[in-house]
């Protein structure tokens, strides 16, 4: 196949593929899957954090959190746009989400139990997301790559804010320390799982790397994440819930103990603590918003008729 060869050559040369360009169906399919999952993750990701806006402990933290969740909504928007350039509509993507057919990041199927979860999500979850997104910013599909550049800049800001919060609480009152440690304990493993299965269990990786969608493997990204975060958390005087965690002098890597992949697959397959509630919340919002969207359409149609009449 000549077109495929030319396509792969372009990618090799580091060129970006743009919406009008020819691309293999599988490339399109994989991108739609990834970008829409990513978009859904931003939208569903608003829920666990959004729930704490009403309970933020200071005016400043409240404002920062509203701004953060707002950024997530914005990321959802860019990403839906990026996916739309591949010929799928936002409505179709949302429908797939609400029908339980589309996935979103499993991390959002864990509950936010205390205020310290907000800082911890910023530090660990956004930290893990950034590693992934920085890699994706180099991806071969132009609109996705550009969305990632923009999103990464904002996520980096959230990451910094989250880290600052946890570090503050780690040296705060006994109750603040307890809250921070508890949050780290609950979020550490799910954050490691965010990068997905080990390379040998990740069947999509090979083709994704060949087509320049991914430029690193799951395990590589995971290792980067641990190398950055583990020492910082330990230095803050907090512990990590991994008795096997150790620094390996030879490789300069922090090595982690075995990941509970059974839990991972349980959550991916709909059996995480919050899967049902998250989807239910999205469905309810969608259903309760139906009359609003209908009103908007009716209004727009009336305006158009008036405009034509004039």
């Amino acid at each position: 196949n000549e077109r495929l060869a030319e396509f792969e050559a372009r990618i090799k040369r580091g060129e970006k593929i743009e919406p009008g360009d020819w691309m293999p169906e599988e490339y399109r399919r994989q991108l739609i899957r990834m970008i829409s999952q990513h978009a859904h993750s931003e939208v569903v990701g608003m829920l666990p954090e959004g729930a704490w806006i009403t309970r933020a402990p200071t005016l400043k933290r409240k404002m920062i959190l509203v701004a953060k969740v707002q950024d997530e909504a914005g990321h959802g928007q860019y990403l839906y746009h990026a996916a739309e350039t591949l010929g799928v509509s936002r409505e179709a993507m949302l429908e797939a989400l609400l029908a339980g057919k589309a996935k979103y990041s499993s991390i959002f199927n864990y509950p936010t139990l205390t205020w310290a979860d907000i800082g911890t999500i910023g530090w660990l979850v956004d930290g893990a997301a950034i590693k992934n997104q920085t890699m994706l910013a180099a991806c071969s599909y132009g609109p996705y790559s550009r969305a990632m550049v923009r999103i990464c800049a904002e996520e980096t800001f959230h990451h910094k804010q989250g880290k600052e919060m946890v570090l503050l609480y780690a040296k705060g009152t006994p109750k603040q320390r307890q809250m921070a440690q508890d949050a780290i304990n609950r979020w550490w493993w799910p954050a490691l799982m965010m990068m997905g299965p080990h390379d040998q269990d990740s069947p999509n990786t090979e083709v994704l790397v060949r087509w320049g969608i991914k430029t690193k493997t799951n395990d590589q990204v995971r290792q980067e994440f641990i190398n950055e975060h583990a020492p910082e958390i330990l230095e803050a005087g907090l512990t990590l819930p991994d008795p096997d965690l150790r620094y390996d002098e030879k490789t300069g890597n922090w090595l982690h103990g075995p990941i509970n992949w059974d839990e991972f697959w349980q959550v991916v397959n709909g059996n995480g603590p919050m899967n049902k509630e998250r989807l239910e919340a999205r469905r309810r919002a969608h259903a309760e918003g139906a009359w609003v969207r209908e009103a908007l359409e009716a209004y727009a149609a009336k305006r158009q008729r008036t405009a034509v009449a004039v």
């Binding site: 909504a73 109750k175 139906a290």
Partner: protein, 252 residues
Amino acid sequence: MRSEVREALIAKLTALADDEVILAHRGSEWTGHGPILEEDIALANIVQDELGHATLWYGLRQQLDGSDPDQLAFFRDAYGYRCCELVELPKGDWAFTMLRQYLYDLYEALWLEAAQHSTYKPLAEAVQKIMREERFHLQHTQAWVERLGQGTDESNRRLQQALDMQWGYAQQLFVPIPGEELLVAEGIVPDLLPLRERWLEHSTRHLQNAGLKLPINPGYQPTSRAYHTEHLWSILAEMQSTARWDAEAKVW
């Protein structure tokens, strides 16, 4: 500044800030549950601005009496809060939310416009900072009122129902606090009476254009900010729960 004027100004700033804090609370209950993603973003914008305004007003109070804004927001109980009842009402549906926001934004925009000439410089400067934001809010919520009012029968019905509920409460925005006449006399804050007339004129015209029925029997019109609805206690229980969970904490 004479001490009665100072006291009245402190009370007025508190009322201004409390309104914004509680309205922001109600607005933030929508986060992630809006009817369209774009509206999650727009409402988050409004909420942030309201929190910003609250911080400004509490900040002006702090200059006068040294009180800490977060202490005021998170450690005062329902007896101490001086918000109006309109902002306490449960979030309701999207029509209820947009209408309340509109009625409030129109009041705030008019108030700010008049308050930019305040003889109290810090207030006049604060007003300058936030006037533009408020104009954007008003544009946004005004447009929603029109869309819902002229949209479907269903959206019109819901908006009308919201209006019937809120109209009386909204009148409290124009009830002066005790001592406000001193502030008006000194040119520190605008007189609410002429503002009310302009508000009535604007809102009536816009609501009628949107296809709503007016005038409305206002029903209950709260007259004192010392009283509240049954909801305030629970709002504060939720809102202050983290801050009060560890009262020893110095920073959050």
